[in-house]
Point group: C2
Chain length 162, copies 2
């Protein structure tokens, strides 16, 4: 049994993050299929929710994806009536995207489905473990430039930072 610093390769956080991420994404994608959506479709809806009225290029940057991919994603979502495409009158090159009511509803359903999966994933974890997970994910998300909501600090509201 090969050990480096007392840990095996398969016990490495880097390895597990990749594998579990793919596994969980797969499970979620399967659940999404019944809405006729792929993961990135919901990604676009979500991006549009945090950046309302964004252009396709802005969405592409937010999603870290080629602009050409946004085209096909938006095509599908538009055909499904989830988003609206509007030429910006001030700059007729830009396509401004916005969620329709149906799109918002869809996103809400997908969010609910994700929360259900979240609950299943964290079932059996202690409260401390759950807290550590969300804390770590918040940190990582912020460190990687993903959208993060500032959570209200509940502890000492202002420990002297000396």
């Amino acid at each position: 049994m090969l050990l480096v610093n007392d840990v095996k390769w398969v016990e490495t956080l880097s390895f597990r993050f990749g594998v579990l991420g793919a596994l969980i994404a797969d499970r979620y994608a399967q659940a999404l299929a019944e809405h006729g959506l792929k993961l990135k479709h919901v990604g676009l809806l979500g991006a549009l929710d945090t950046a309302p009225g964004a252009s396709q290029l802005e969405i592409a940057k937010l999603m870290r994806v080629a602009p050409s991919l946004v085209v096909s994603l938006a095509d599908h979502l538009e055909a499904a009536g989830a988003i609206e495409r509007l030429r910006d009158p001030a700059d007729r090159r830009r396509q401004v995207l916005s969620l329709t009511d149906r799109g918002r509803d869809l996103l809400a359903r997908c969010t609910a489905r994700a929360l259900a999966l979240d609950a299943e994933l964290t079932e059996g974890l202690t409260p401390a473990q759950r807290a550590a997970l969300t804390a770590a994910f918040d940190r990582l998300a912020a460190a990687h430039g993903l959208p993060v909501r500032e959570r209200p600090v509940r502890e000492q509201p202002d420990a002297d930072p000396r």
Copy 2:
């Protein structure tokens, strides 16, 4: 801002697991490139470390991957001198794989590299948070059938299970 149960979609564990998993895997893959390896190559080395002397089919099941993929991965690793392929004399259909010294060395390097990334990822977390995080990942890995080492229990060594 669309909220379901007070959380946005992008704050969902399911979403973040997928995205961060892919992001981290990407970073690690980049580090691996200097060894001329892809992620799954190291995956094979790691699988072979936890299941020494396994056949290709067993490795495929362990890695949750098509047997045909193991062929090309093993081809590459064998050419690199990291593994040995041996026909099982007792059943000449089976190809028994085993790590060479060079393979073990390679795996050790990759593990060390992963640990360095791990440290960077968890930097800023308190020791308690790190412990809770690894515990949570242990649970998730176990729940998904990934190899997990039983860690020595340090608390009450034998609470009466009545």
